[in-house]
Amino acid sequence: MSIPFIVFISGIVIAAASGLVGSLLTLRKMTLLSDALSHVALPGIALGIVFHFTPLWGGVAFLFLGIFLIRVIEIRTKLATESITGVLFVTALAVGALIIPEQELLETFFGNVQSISYGAAIIQMFVAILIIGVTLSFLKQLTLTSIAPDLATASKISKKNIEILLLVLIATTIAVGISFVGVLLMSSLLIVPAVTAKNLAKTFKGFIGISMGISAFSLFAGLCTASIYSVNPGLATVLISSGIFFLSLFAPMK
């Protein structure tokens, strides 16, 4: 399969953004939340396929609707974010799978690089650059709120605003990553590299850098593998990133 150069570049930037946002998620033990949240995009993607508009936008709309619903239910019931996401995620998965025509179901689940147009690749790349920029400029607040919430509040950082920012960053990252690795495998870009980096790094800078690097490398290698052996790039990316994870277990103890 031949993959355009711009899709390669766009994919690498998106993967780097995922590695960055993912590293913040592992600090908060929110890794499963992001995994579940990615499924919430499914009905939106489904509507895009059925009604012939870019599925990405449907996905984005449903992700933000999902976040909004999680927030509302959270305030009304005081249930944990993870529990609510769990309910929404299976519902969204079932609804999405019902609507999507069977022949397109697989590529929605596992990604379809070939469906990415030049225009979409460029837009997604700029969104990913934006994600990296915003995350880095709020990195102190995001990190402090995660590791020491009381110190953050005492330093006049609004916990609520930072949490909303983080949810928006997760949703946007998922939205731009889905076309590469699909709904089911999004965590291969968000979680696996970050967990590997946590295992390897000694400093926080190193942690974030390694996470971004592994994520970008996995997607790049996944796309290369796909263009040579015509396997699904999403699957190749997952296997490469989890392969790096298992290799990292043999790294000398810190």
Binding site: L27, K140, Q141, T143, L144, I147, A148, D150, L151, T153, A154, S155, K156, I157, A197, K198, N199, A201, K202, T203, F204, K205, G206, F207, K254
Partner: protein
């Protein structure tokens, strides 16, 4: 102007789900003053601290800080994920509005510079508390709020933190609010004491405020007698 209190709390109450946690608390703290807040476990001491810091919303009363004051805070508990890849120096860099350098606070605490390269996750609870103190000092606070840990207390570590606070107070004129369950802390370090057991049991200079009656109200008959005979 500088006679204005750094903090003035009037008639403060906090309620959780309609259960009162603290009721009608009033006190003031001035420059260079050390105020000890004492009371048994569950008396609402930490809640009081968090409320004046703005972490918890009061249900009634007023909290007035001197305009533009810099406040340092040492929380009672600071749990660090065992696998958190972060050095002490990187933790210091997370501080918003830093005034002192990392090296300067490390020197203030009489620690070696090599501490900045240590991993946060490798520190003992006592060491972590020192690092928290350093973090609180980074923006050169005029007042420091110290919530003494109730668990994992190692006596030597606690002693050295208090000695350190005492030195800092002497050197910089820092005001302190010490939350403690230990009466010795009051006698040794405080100018004023606030006894808290949901209600405000006493407030004033330790010699006058702490008597048989207030101690009984605070800790029960047995403890009060014990301290009375000391």
């Amino acid at each position: 102007m500088h006679l204005d209190p750094l903090l003035s709390v009037k008639n403060l109450s906090v309620t959780f789900h309609e259960n009162p946690v603290i009721k009608h608390i009033s006190f003031e703290i001035h420059k260079e003053e050390v105020l000890a807040v004492i009371g048994p476990n569950g008396a609402g001491k930490s809640v009081l601290l968090k409320t004046i810091l703005g972490i918890i919303e009061p249900s009634a009363g007023s909290i007035e800080w001197f305009p533009g004051i810099r406040i340092g805070y040492l929380p009672q508990r600071f749990h660090v994920d065992m696998y958190l890849p972060m050095t002490v120096g990187e933790f210091f860099d997370l501080k918003p509005r830093k005034i002192l350098t990392n090296e300067a606070v490390i020197r203030l605490l009489k620690l070696e510079k090599s501490w900045l390269k240590k991993k946060l996750a490798h520190l003992s609870s006592g060491q972590l508390q020192r690092i928290l103190l350093a973090w609180a000092l980074l923006d050169d606070p005029q007042i420091l709020l110290f919530d003494e840990p109730t668990e994992n207390v190692d006596v030597v570590g606690q002693e050295s933190i208090y000695t350190l606070l005492h030195h800092l107070q002497d050197a910089t004129g820092l005001s302190l609010i010490l939350v403690s369950h230990d009466l010795q802390v009051v006698y040794k370090y405080a100018n004023n004491v606030l006894c808290l057991n949901e209600k405000q049991v006493c407030y004033g200079e330790p010699k006058e405020a702490l008597n048989h009656e207030t101690l009984t109200k605070l800790f029960g008959e047995h403890t009060a007698l014990h301290h009375h005979h000391l």
